[in-house]
Symmetry: C2
Subunit: 190 residues, 2 copies
Amino acid sequence: MKALEERIVKDGRVINDNILKVDSFLTHQVDPILMTAIGQEFASHFQNKGITKVATIESSGISPALITALNLNVPLVIFKKNAHKALNGSLLHTEVTSFTTGKTFELTASPKFLKPEDHVLIIDDILANGEAITGVIRILRMAHATVAGTGIIIEKTFQPGRNKITEAGVEVYSLAKIKSMSSSGIEFEE
Amino acid sequence: MKALEERIVKDGRVINDNILKVDSFLTHQVDPILMTAIGQEFASHFQNKGITKVATIESSGISPALITALNLNVPLVIFKKNAHKALNGSLLHTEVTSFTTGKTFELTASPKFLKPEDHVLIIDDILANGEAITGVIRILRMAHATVAGTGIIIEKTFQPGRNKITEAGVEVYSLAKIKSMSSSGIEFEE
């Protein structure tokens, strides 16, 4: 997605070879016009897949996922991150450890909104090591729902996230694929 | 907003005189079509107020706030809740204690996206005691930004949130005002 790559080059800040800050249009401040274009692109790519729900993880995934769900005319289900083990026994939950920060959190979702007949599209902002997304896939499988695919805004292809998701049998569709980055610039994959 | 009141009656669950669950269309599962109508209504109400940014608190406020920002053609700024004190000294922060749960969290925002020339509309899903919103107002004032008003989806008018916000000199515009609720039903204010 050309407009997205241009925005990453213009406003993204490469902190080191692994960390890209996109806080001015995606994580802390959100550009609603760019999110609309992104959501429309995901909806268009997955439109004939029989999707019944869009799922995302709070919080940066919510904006693009909402526009995707709106264009697919299905509800959005929000997975929550909890610092502590979920005490609410009625929630589906799994532990996720972030490879980048080393921090562990409990990912939860309400089983009321995930049924065996659901075919779920997962939307997230950034794919690096794939820990959070594979956590979502685990929870969807606990609910006996099926996974329609994953839509990612920015993928760092030099990290193992894509492999982990495709090994779980799930398609990954990324709008911007970063092959490498450093203080001298960002290189995208075609 | 008639469609919203009808949806609250149809899908909301009154847990007790204080707690209303709206997890099937607003907090855990989100109805994108209803969020679009809500965001359009907020944008229409505040359209001539010179708003430069919309602000919300993660996570349930993000969906309606995104549509509001899209319709006002301004960026959305997301305030984050942290379980622990923010260690990142570059963030604006204030402590908020939830009256309902008794839990304290640290509310943070990046000062990069809140400037003295900004006139900010705050959007949130539910107004009860107003602790989180008055926290957002404190942070906006630390940044020397001005507050254009507050747009609330569901207000519980029997709780003191509105008073606290109007005492801070800020308008509250609510789409559904609940006067009382119990197992026998929900009563709205005109």
